[in-house]
């Protein structure tokens, strides 16, 4: 092809009529004749692409690419993104969103996080002026859910809410005020707004991390921590990554590029263990299909291989885990100092004065308590001896020996029967995991949403610990479900809970007050455990233990009802008990439809707040790029106004003072100064002040002014004692190094990664060690229901957004394998009913070859209003509480979002029929 060039002219030159542009071409440095035949003066087809004359029209698109200002924000949706966004403003209105892509690199050795931000954030502005926007306060005037509203002014709404709140406090007590708002990390000022008011009144603050089934119970059980995971840049330090039940490419979208960096640049082999061939499998090195709910079996078999083939890191295990600790053979309890000497110090404590190991030279030796460094101790892992206790001779053996016995029959061959996965593949994976350093598991809700999630977590954590990967950069057990990591934790806590606080595990509360025990086939077994846990105070149950009924629910920045497992029963039994439901939201959600008052909230682009996540070590601010639309108020201003109104009404009613006893502490409440208490004497009047309070009060952020964050994303300065590693400059955050490198005792009963739990209930239930229990079989319906997280929503956020719905089907759907569809004469796009004895939901069928036979895959998050009869994806699902998560034992004590029953939901069988 001969290369020819035509003269380049300015974009707006005049029509040529066979003239040569002498002077023009000298300026441009190019000279060519323009043949007359090529002139653009006729409609004859001609070919002169490089010489177009009429380019003035190009201003059309240039004029569209114009905006007046750009401001900073992010999105508070519990996606773990915490992405840095730029909001573009035209004529004082939000126009569109683009990623700011301005994260600095952590260090020269690590890739940067940019651009961070997904398709949902890219149309977040749909919520600004969209038709779902709540513009002014609404009061329900029909039945709950009927959709009859009366518009009120803020003063009217707040006065009524204040009076009804005071009615409840006066008549029943403040513990009847219940408040649900999740995930402080995604917007701690907004979280604190209502929480602070509730705290000052004496209300109850609800948990979310356990309720959402995001909490992996195996982490508090084994490690004594809620969760601590590596930021995603650390993935590039790994050499072997198993994404187990985690669909990174759909649910960790901003971090998907890090996974590919780890793989393509860092040489890590990426293996996906899961059921359907999902978006993450598409770009993995190996897809490992397993039957739904069989992950526990596969993990135990991998543990068995590591143990039986001596592939474990003996030195690490001896130093960091409870595997060398001695257990009594008579009652299955750890051997404790009090057994040998009843008069020992701290005999009554759960640790009974301390634990023992068998040293190779010295024999029976107390486990050092002040640190993990063994010095010259060399514990024997596989030991059995007799010791003299105060009550006689007792045989003791090590946790390691018990573990070997426990796992002896959990062979890969056995696991093949449970999972359908070839024994030799299981064996190969185990060997590879044990011999590739560092190796990590990215763990997700594909595993965690099952009833025996605690066992599955523990079995996988065991694998990572046996191979010495916990506490090593590029290694470990990394769980990312739920944005629970509030980096500036101390400041947030002080802002939200200035005084003593009542907390409630939401799973238990929902179960009990919806009277789910009447429809739970597992209730007879659960009953003694639940009643004991509540009666002994191990698990709070507000407002009044097993007796009381809730009266008021405040909810903000949440769609609690939509996302409630068993929400059909919640509607039928729990909602009617409430005298008052107040919701604060910027979009009319399914929860709001059942509220008594809906107050208009500011969106993400209309307020000051903060955002942090497990996935990065950067702090991102929200700023009010525009003022709140219509009559919306920011969460902080709305609850401050409510505080002021309650104060006014309390004074008018002559009821301002009452005493309140929380955990033995008497709090003298004075509603006459409520507003002043809320604003701490005026210091916290503004949202920005509240944000600064958090920054000032947290080691992670102390020294930053809010405006520093507005200038550019900032890395946290340090990791406080709340976390498990120091934050080092130039290095990605990777957890548990304070214990593994720093040799500090783990925050567990034994001071070690604890795989043996000798709580009485655990011995009763046979789960002292990670062991096998099959998924629940609550019915004989042939398909397993899975409700994973879709890429196009964050739970219910964006579920009914037009931009994204047009990229889908416009209606909710269930995926079926072609065999299962054919068996039911179901074709693509047919209406079907997904049902079991709990309920039914009507959706479209999508026949997909990628779905495992025997599985019905129904995304969670769609709004109730999208379904016939408002029976959404929760309809076939109920709540089943695992008694292992009710226990109080050593380091397992109820603390909000750290320990409590999780809302597992995958052990659900359904059938599907044409509808």
């Amino acid at each position: 092809m001969p290369e020819r060039r035509w003269s380049r002219g300015p974009s707006r030159r005049t029509v040529l009529k066979g003239m040569v542009l002498g002077t023009g071409s000298l300026v441009l440095g190019r000279f060519r004749w323009l043949p007359a035949a090529r002139a653009q003066d006729s409609l004859q087809p001609s070919w002169n692409p490089a010489d177009y004359s009429y380019t003035a029209w190009e201003d059309l698109y240039r004029r569209q690419w114009v905006f007046d200002a750009a401001g900073r924000s992010t999105h508070s949706v519990n996606c773990t993104g915490s992405c840095s966004w730029k909001v573009l403003v035209k004529n004082g209105m939000v126009w569109r969103d683009e990623q700011a892509a301005d994260y600095p690199a952590i260090g020269p050795a690590l890739p940067d996080y940019n651009p961070r931000g997904c398709q949902k954030g890219a149309c977040a502005s749909d919520y600004q002026y969209g038709r779902q926007r709540v513009k002014y306060p609404l009061k329900r005037v029909g039945e709950r859910g009927e959709g009859r509203w009366q518009r009120l002014t803020w003063d009217q709404a707040l006065s009524e809410i204040a009076d009804r709140t005071l009615d409840i406090v006066e008549r029943y007590g403040p513990q009847y005020l219940h408040a649900f708002t999740p995930i402080p990390a995604m917007s701690p000022v907004s979280y604190a707004s209502g929480s602070r008011l509730m705290n000052l009144l004496g209300g109850v603050s609800f948990t979310f991390y356990d309720w959402y089934c995001d909490l992996p119970p195996g982490e508090p059980i084994t490690w004594g921590v809620q969760t601590d995971s590596a930021e995603s840049a650390d993935w590039t330090n790994s050499r072997f990554i198993i994404a187990w039940g985690s669909n990174v490419n759909a649910t960790r979208i901003p971090d998907a590029q890090m996974l590919q960096k780890a793989r393509l640049r860092g040489g890590a082999r990426v293996v996906v263990i899961g059921t359907e061939y999902n978006p993450t499998s598409v770009h993995a090195d190996q897809f490992v299909p397993v039957r739904p709910g069989s992950d526990l079996a596969v993990a135990l078999a991998m543990d068995q291989v590591v143990l039986s083939e001596d592939l474990y890191d003996a030195a690490y295990v001896k130093e960091q885990t409870d595997l060398p600790l001695l257990v009594r053979e008579d009652d299955g309890r750890f051997l404790r100092a009090v057994d040998l000497d009843p008069g020992v110090a701290n005999a009554d404590g759960d640790d009974g004065g301390g634990f023992y190991l068998w040293d190779r030279r010295r024999g029976l030796t107390a486990v050092p308590k002040d640190g993990l460094d063994l010095g010259d101790l060399d514990p024997v892992l596989d030991a059995r001896h007799e010791v003299q206790t105060a009550a006689g001779t007792v045989g003791v053996t090590t946790v390691f020996t018990l573990l070997q016995r426990e796992l002896a029959d959990k062979t890969p061959e056995w696991a093949q029967q449970q999972s359908g996965l070839a024994a030799d593949t299981i064996r190969e994976l185990a060997r590879e995991f044990a011999t590739t350093r560092p190796a990590m598991i990215i763990h997700g809700n594909g595993v965690n949403q099952w009833y025996h999630n605690d066992l599955a977590n523990r079995a996988m954590i065991l694998l990572v610990a046996l191979t010495g990967n916990v506490g090593k950069p590029g290694g470990g057990f990394n769980h990312y479900v739920g944005q629970e990591k509030i980096w500036p934790v101390a400041g947030w806590k002080a802002l939200s809970y200035p005084g003593p606080q009542r907390f409630q595990n939401t799973t238990l509360w929902t179960y009990w007050h919806s009277e789910m025990q009447d429809v739970d086939p597992l209730w007879p077994e659960l009953k003694p455990y639940l009643e004991t846990a509540v009666e002994k105070g191990w698990m709070p149950l507000w407002p009044n233990g097993l007796e009381g009924e809730p009266k008021a629910l405040f909810t903000w920045r949440a769609n609690w009802l939509n996302q409630a497992k068993g929400n059909g029963r919640v509607l039928a039994k729990l909602i009617p008990k409430l005298d008052l439901i107040v919701a604060l939201d910027f979009r009319m959600s399914s929860t709001d439809l059942y509220a008594d008052y809906v107050l208009p909230a500011a969106t993400w682009a209309e307020k000051f707040d903060l955002s942090s996540t497990d996935l990065t070590s950067f702090l991102i601010p929200f700023t009010p790029v525009v003022a709140p639309f219509a009559e919306a108020k920011t969460d902080w201003q709305a609850f401050r106004a409510l505080a002021a109104t309650i104060e006014l009404r309390a004074k008018a009613r002559g009821f301002t003072a009452y005493d309140d006893v929380i955990d033995g502490t008497t709090v003298h409440r004075d509603l006459g100064t409520l507003h002043d208490q809320f604003t701490e004497g005026g210091k916290l009047r503004l949202d920005k002040d509240a944000a600064q309070f958090i920054l000032d009060g947290s080691e992670e952020t102390k020294g930053y002014l809010f405006d520093d964050l507005v200038e550019r994303p900032r890395r946290f300065k340090a990791a406080s004692e709340h976390w498990t590693s120091d934050l080092e400059e130039g290095k990605a955050y990777a957890p548990f190094q304070r214990y593994v490198q720093g040799k500090r005792p783990w925050p567990t009963l034994t001071g070690r990664q604890q795989f043996y739990i000798d709580a009485p209930w655990y011995r009763e239930l046979g789960v002292m060690l990670p062991t096998f229990k099959p998924p629940l079989e609550l019915s004989k319906h042939p398909l397993r229901l899975s409700t994973p997280h879709y890429r196009h929503t964050i739970h219910s956020s964006w579920a009914i957004d037009l931009t994204l719905q047009r990229l889908q089907w416009g209606e909710p759907f269930v995926f079926l394998n072609p065999d299962d569809a054919r068996d039911r004469a179901v074709e693509d796009h047919d209406w079907v009913r997904v049902f079991n004895d709990n309920g039914a939901t009507r959706v479209r069928a999508r026949v997909h070859p990628a779905v495992t036979p025997g599985q019905a895959l129904l995304f969670q998050g769609w709004e109730m209003v999208q379904f016939e009869g408002r029976h959404n994806f929760q309809a076939p699902i109920s709540i089943h509480i695992n008694p292992t998560q009710l226990v109080r034992y050593g380091h397992l004590q109820f603390k909000p979002n750290y320990w409590g029953p999780t809302g597992a939901n995958r052990d659900t069988r359904v059938d599907v029929e044409k509808a």
Binding site: P49, Y54, P115, A256, S281, R640, R806
Partner: protein, 371 residues
């Protein structure tokens, strides 16, 4: 109107050619690029079915449907344009709207539902793919106008309303000159020109030239969260695109048989090995090579071999220049625009008084209610 007949020698190159390389090993089908483009350029009435940028699951029917049929472009000798098919409304699918007010704010418990029954759409067969479980296979294919070197659309327009910019080869459709004949829509083998039924003109991707002229890459590229897209000059030996296309030969054109010489290239996808009924890897390719050859031509086999060889190096702890190139350490390395890149002015910088990010002053936000 006779089909255009052109002297092949008359097909001219622009001075330079902007293009893209999309690494299909990183595209996760998130549709962020789709939304980026849609919210910037094609949100008007008449543009409901217009997606200058869209991401398809392949194997799949594509958007609009019917892309697989031979369709537009040039004859094999490059002498004549092929007229091609005009997609029907059904090929684009149903454009529905929702009943937000009824479902959310009015009594009656109306179901939040589309007003027209959806039957097809831009991303209808998302995640479906082909094959039999557990050996189903699929990947994501982002598609936009290829700003071809020999654009059949330019040749097809009897009003000469389409042209290539000489400085960078961006193909543009003059919105004032267009009379809405849609010969260009027929001629484009990629069906990346869309008919606006309200404005009654054809419209296409403009390669974000208002941004490009300021040194900022296209919205689809800068907003791509997977770091999939290289943007730069395909004819500049110093650009990463040149290296991927000509040196490493791992970046391939889509449907090259149509003869338009597209300037958007794709690094073909690898995939995990096929497994047997018990999940054991079999060593066999999951995605049939013949399928990829249909899309990317005969270069795909050698390209995949190169990728696998280089991946093997990295796995063994050796350095691979190709993998370093493909997985940039710094996000901004993806964009090498000819005009001095204005990255600092755009990324992370905000336009407001004093150049600082704009927001409402803090003091304006408190409520009026005070005790």
């Amino acid at each position: 109107m006779p089909v255009p007949k052109l002297d092949k020698d008359e097909l001219l190159r622009s001075e330079h050619q902007l293009g893209m390389v999309l690494d299909l090993n990183k595209c996760i089908g998130c549709q962020t690029c789709t939304v980026a483009c849609k919210t910037l350029w094609t949100g008007d009435a008449g543009q409901e079915a217009t997606y200058w940028m869209n991401v398809e699951t392949r194997p799949g029917a594509g958007y609009p449907r019917g892309l697989a049929a031979p369709n537009g472009g040039w004859t094999p000798d490059g002498q004549r344009g092929v007229r091609g098919r005009l997609p029907t409304a059904e090929d684009y699918g149903t454009t529905y709207r929702f009943n937000d007010e009824d479902a959310l704010f009015a009594p009656g418990q109306a179901r939040f539902a589309p007003d027209v029954e959806p039957r097809w759409g831009v991303n209808w067969d998302e995640d479906k793919g082909a094959g039999v479980y557990p050996n189903t296979f699929l990947f994501y294919l982002p598609r936009l106008c290829n700003h071809c070197t020999h654009p059949a659309c330019v040749a097809a327009c009897p009003r000469n309303a389409l042209y290539k910019r000489d400085q960078d080869g961006i193909v543009l459709l003059d919105q004032e000159r267009c009379h809405g004949y849609r010969f260009c829509v027929e001629a484009c083998p990629y069906k990346k020109i869309y008919w606006n039924h309200v404005a009654k003109v054809s419209q296409k991707c403009i390669f974000c030239y208002p941004r490009v002229d300021e040194g900022i890459a296209t919205a689809c590229s800068t907003q791509c969260v997977g770091q999939v897209r290289f943007v730069g000059l395909v004819d500049d030996p110093k650009s990463p695109l040149f290296a991927l296309i000509h040196t490493w030969k791992v970046a391939l054109p889509l449907l090259p048989g149509h003869g338009t010489q597209p300037n958007v290239y794709y690094v073909p996808p690898t995939a995990p090995e096929a497994v047997d009924a018990d999940g054991r890897p079999t060593g066999k390719r999951r995605i049939p090579l013949s399928y990829l050859q249909q899309l990317f031509g005969d270069g795909v086999g050698p390209a995949l071999d190169t990728l696998e060889t280089e991946l093997g190096k990295v796995r063994r702890g050796e350095t691979s220049d190709l993998m370093q190139l493909l997985t940039v350490q710094r996000y901004l390395d993806l964009f090498t625009l000819p005009r001095a890149p204005n990255n600092d002015a755009w990324f992370g910088a905000f336009a407001g008084p004093g150049g600082a990010p704009h927001h409402v002053p803090a003091e304006r936000t408190p409520s009026e209610t005070e005790p």
